[in-house]
Assembly symmetry: C2
Homo-oligomer: 301 residues x 2
């Protein structure tokens, strides 16, 4: 038997102990409840219903702020899972919370989806209206674009498929000012998509961090600041009684481990079991429990 | 006296020995001959004239393929330096050479300036006509953009201020195919601009290299492949008789050191002497000689 703790291999007593060991579940969505392009993953709703029937509070923690909360709740509903607004956590929400708590005022340069920026505006924040302009190749044009005089007080990086090299330069210039906040949402270094692991926002966040020698406060997975916020929001006294469920080792599992939560890795569509077995994971990277798909949690006992 | 070898501090004999120690000079342009936005640096033309009068062959090796060769030669002419076409080396040229030597045929996905792509086309290569499209935020739109079926045979990354996150994802997908060439031009991790060190193409090249676990062949500074090509082009038997001159430690000096050339670091506008003094450089990063500005080379003896 491998040192990977498959739920399916546990004895009845071990399963019971596992089920009794947590009260709160933080559950990822993409790759766990549905695939990227919205193919619901069969049986996910039964698993969530089972956990709730066993008295567990289930909260969905996603890095996906590309869709509005309303649309995400509809998506859950189509999967036969009823989720209330406070049971869905995403970076646009956590960052709005953080800025509100801070009493933040000022202009924000935000690299994220239009839905994300809309969320910030609806919460009373002022976001730069980015012109989707092209630099024509002259350095003069580049200078005018990046040394823009907007009084930026915060730079936010989340998922932005249209993020350009010159915009990151512009962010870098503003972030030279130590009073300009540096905030990140989804910080996945890679995004699983179409069978490949493609560059995620975490890769660009890291570039700016390295180049400017300052750290972003990260309110998406696997950010430490998100963990602190969740502990306050859900009044978590004992992190070991929280189970973090997800399909990404680099985003969900590391996040859970860093927070002191228990972790359950879902192989789902993202990773073959043989591929997972072949990984050399050290203790801090290794999920506490492994399951093929979420539906294997239904009728555990 | 510091362990940094300032030309100004050398004795007459040391200056003479230095001047006798090289036959060929590879000289950077931006920050050495002129500043980014084309303010000629006073006295650069005298220094070049002096080196030529002393029988040195001077070749300009720039990472700047944003301007056409013709425009760059005009720029030199305005600085009172006459440069012939074969005395100017830039990534669009070295990459064209490499592909020609290879007998390369096929479609190229090229992230570079329009001038760079034009150069490739004029040399008979077929470059994807990139649509400057925005991903609307839906993952379906993203999928259609990055999983495009163009039969790409090479991916080239050079300076592209408009390079987007989704285009890098597209490059990543093509580069999963080991037969698709991965080629880089300018590979500066940082570009000095407007008093800041901003993210350069090298940062993005590194991201793709790490994510796809394959190395690019780099035909701009500080790429090893550029060094090999220059050694062939200029029939270099003894690299120690070549002097690499530049204002970037991470691009010019490392390049020169890796090639076995002598190196001369020009502080010019990019770095204060005190800032340079404070750097902790190990032997492999330390320039052999240091000068405040190129004009200090004029009338050396």
């Amino acid at each position: 038997m491998s040192n990977k703790n498959y739920i399916a291999n546990l004895s009845y007593v071990q399963k019971r102990d596992f089920l009794n060991s947590f009260d709160l579940v933080f559950c990822d969505c993409d790759g766990v409840i549905w695939h990227n392009l919205f193919d619901p993953i069969p049986g996910a709703s039964d698993a969530i219903a089972y956990l709730r029937a066993k008295g567990k509070q289930v909260v969905f923690v996603t890095n996906n702020s590309i869709m509005s909360t309303a649309d995400q709740l509809k998506k859950f509903s189509k999967c036969n899972i009823i989720v209330k607004e406070h049971e869905l956590i995403h970076p646009a929400k956590t960052i709005s919370n953080y800025l509100k708590n801070l009493g933040f005022e000022g202009l924000i340069l935000c690299f994220a989806s239009s839905i994300f920026k809309q969320h910030l505006r609806e919460n009373g924040f002022e976001v730069v209206e980015e012109k989707e302009r092209l630099i024509d190749g002259s350095v003069l044009d580049l200078r005018n674009a990046i040394y823009n005089k907007d009084p930026i007080k915060a730079v936010i990086i989340d998922i932005d498929f249209n993020l350009t090299a010159w915009k990151l330069m512009r962010a870098q210039v503003h972030l030279k000012n130590p009073e300009c906040l540096f905030i990140a949402g989804a910080a996945d270094p890679r995004i699983p998509f179409g069978g490949n692991e493609l560059l995620g926002p975490g890769a660009y966040i890291r570039l700016v961090e390295e180049a400017n020698q300052r750290k972003a406060k990260v309110f998406g997975k696997p950010g430490a600041e998100l963990g602190e916020l969740l502990k306050v929001m859900f009044n978590i006294k004992d992190p070991q009684r929280v189970l973090m469920v997800g399909d990404s080792l680099k985003s969900d599992i590391i996040f859970g481990k860093n927070c002191g939560f228990q972790t359950l890795f879902v192989l789902a569509g993202n990773m073959e079991q043989s591929e997972f077995e072949a990984l050399q994971l050290n203790k801090m990277d290794r999920p506490d429990f492994v399951i093929e798909k979420l539906s294997d949690l239904s009728n555990l006992l």
